[in-house]
């Protein structure tokens, strides 16, 4: 049965869904990360940045999502495109690299992650729509790649992706210098993401940063908290019990009959 199946996609509903489409019911959209993501190489490492808005059509689905994904302890990856695809493709590569590290006992290389990503994406001919900015530091130094949904890649000193990529790239083109300090680099990436947040409708909320150097990773979740509620209720709406008409009520007692407690180890007789 289905438990015997190991990984891979299932296409058994495709025929049925095609039939629906032929009947004139169009397929709904997925959650996208209409995004601003960016990264650059500085003196001793890589800075990655992302906004935190995810959208479903023109509705904001999540106001504070995470778009910088873990790949390896020395590699992280920003994702734009269909949310499910970026989440799963990065997760898959992260697990493959983990097993590879167990097998070889060596640190993962950024190019390895890049090759695994593009291999998967090219195989699916752009249907797995993940646009990625991959960054990390390995024994050869800092690396930064962009990976397109069709599987092509670029190796660049600074890169942007997503619907706000033009906004962010404008800031990079104006402000990028070789061998920036950590603070300069962080400020420039944050400014690039901010320009996406403010000027691109698909991007919004806050700025996440991730700084990777050979000495370690600093993941700054909500490095800049830009969008708090501006309209908190002065007198919150409180409802008295019984404000809604209840027709029927059932209460289920779910207290555990048996409580499992961790016990002390028993004294062992040794004679």
């Amino acid at each position: 049965m289905e438990t015997a199946q190991q990984g891979g996609f299932s296409f058994d509903l495709c025929k049925r869904n095609e039939f629906f489409a032929a009947k004139g019911v169009q397929h709904p959209g997925f959650t996208k990360t209409g995004t601003t993501i960016a990264g650059l190489i500085f003196k001793d490492g890589v800075v990655l940045g992302a906004d935190t808005r995810s959208t479903a059509g023109s509705t904001v689905a999540d106001k504070n999502c995470e778009k910088i994904h873990f790949i390896a302890p020395n590699i992280y990856c920003c994702g734009a495109g269909t949310a499910a695809d970026t989440e799963n493709v990065t997760g898959m590569v992260a697990s493959q690299l983990e097993l590879h590290r167990y097998a070889t006992g060596t640190q993962s290389r950024v190019v390895t992650a890049m090759t695994l990503l593009k291999g998967h994406l090219f195989k699916y001919q752009g249907h797995v729509s993940a646009a990625l900015v991959l960054g990390g530091v390995d024994f050869r130094g800092p690396h930064l790649f962009t990976v397109y949904p069709h599987g092509s890649t670029d190796s660049l000193p600074f890169a942007t992706m997503g619907s706000g990529s033009l906004n962010a790239m404008a800031v990079f083109e104006a402000g990028f210098k070789d061998d920036m300090s950590r603070e300069e680099a962080m400020a420039l990436v944050a400014r690039a993401i901010r320009s996406g947040v403010m000027n691109d409708l698909g991007s919004g909320s806050n700025v996440d940063l991730c700084i990777i150097t050979k000495d370690g990773v600093e993941y700054l979740r909500n490095h800049e908290y830009l969008q708090t509620k501006t309209y908190e209720r002065q007198f919150p709406q409180k409802f008295a019990s019984g404000s809604v008409p209840v027709v029927r009520e059932r209460v289920y007692d779910i207290r555990r009959a048996v409580q499992v407690v961790e016990g002390e180890p028993m004294e062992m007789e040794v004679s």
Binding site: T3, A56, T59, A83, D85, H127, F239, S241, V251, Y252
Partner: protein
């Protein structure tokens, strides 16, 4: 017409202080024809974990059975109930497996973690997870539900207040949706009891 609007549904889940609540409307229809007014869209996985399935009714039914089946297997293997966060991953993986031929279903998961903290998460039809610490909505009434939830929800609501807040949001939200309504059902989950209440709503 979108396939999500074929049967119609409204689902809301909210987190409180050491409690969560999840509710759905009761209408089951085929486009504009109402067929039943006692159709719950929230399914119990175990005492502390519920899942709401919005979207195409046939797929919701299939998925609820598959999740029950998968939870049974999990219990046989592990000899315990599944954690809500782990179940979220399971649902996500199940939906992403059908990436290129999806179930037309948007799940909302509400449960209490073993330490008593509330867990909420929602997904699109291919399993892109979205965890929230406040509330989660799905169905045909999302546009009106999001606004009212954003306005009414407060942190650290107790079980009774949480019930009133969620019910007010759900009833007023679904009143602005032709495809959802006809009363509602709400489950409030706390550490030692589950309270299930059926609500009276507009019948038009």
């Amino acid at each position: 017409m979108s396939i999500f609007e074929y049967n119609g549904s409204a689902i809301v889940a909210m987190a409180g202080k050491e409690c969560v609540a999840i509710g759905s409307d009761l209408r089951f229809g085929v486009q504009l024809q109402t067929l039943a007014t006692d159709y719950k869209k929230v399914y119990k996985i175990h005492d502390q974990l519920f899942i709401g399935l919005a979207g195409l009714g046939t797929d919701a039914e299939t998925l609820s059975q598959r999740f029950a089946f998968k939870h049974n297997l999990y219990k046989l293997r592990e000899e315990r109930d599944i954690k809500p966060s782990a179940f979220g991953q399971l649902v996500s993986a199940t939906l992403y497996e059908r990436r290129f031929g999806p179930y037309f279903c948007q799940p909302v998961i509400a449960g209490l973690e073993p330490d008593g903290s509330p867990y909420l998460c929602g997904m699109d039809s291919i399993g892109a997870q979205e965890t929230a610490k406040d509330f989660m909505v799905a169905g045909t009434a999302t546009d009106s539900l999001l606004g009212i939830c954003e306005s009414l929800w407060r942190p650290d609501l107790g079980p009774e207040e949480l019930f009133e807040t969620l019910s007010q949001a759900l009833l007023s939200g679904q009143d602005r949706d032709c495809l959802a309504g006809w009363g509602a059902v709400v489950y409030v989950i706390t550490k030692d009891k589950v309270i299930a209440r059926t609500l009276k709503g507009r019948m038009d």
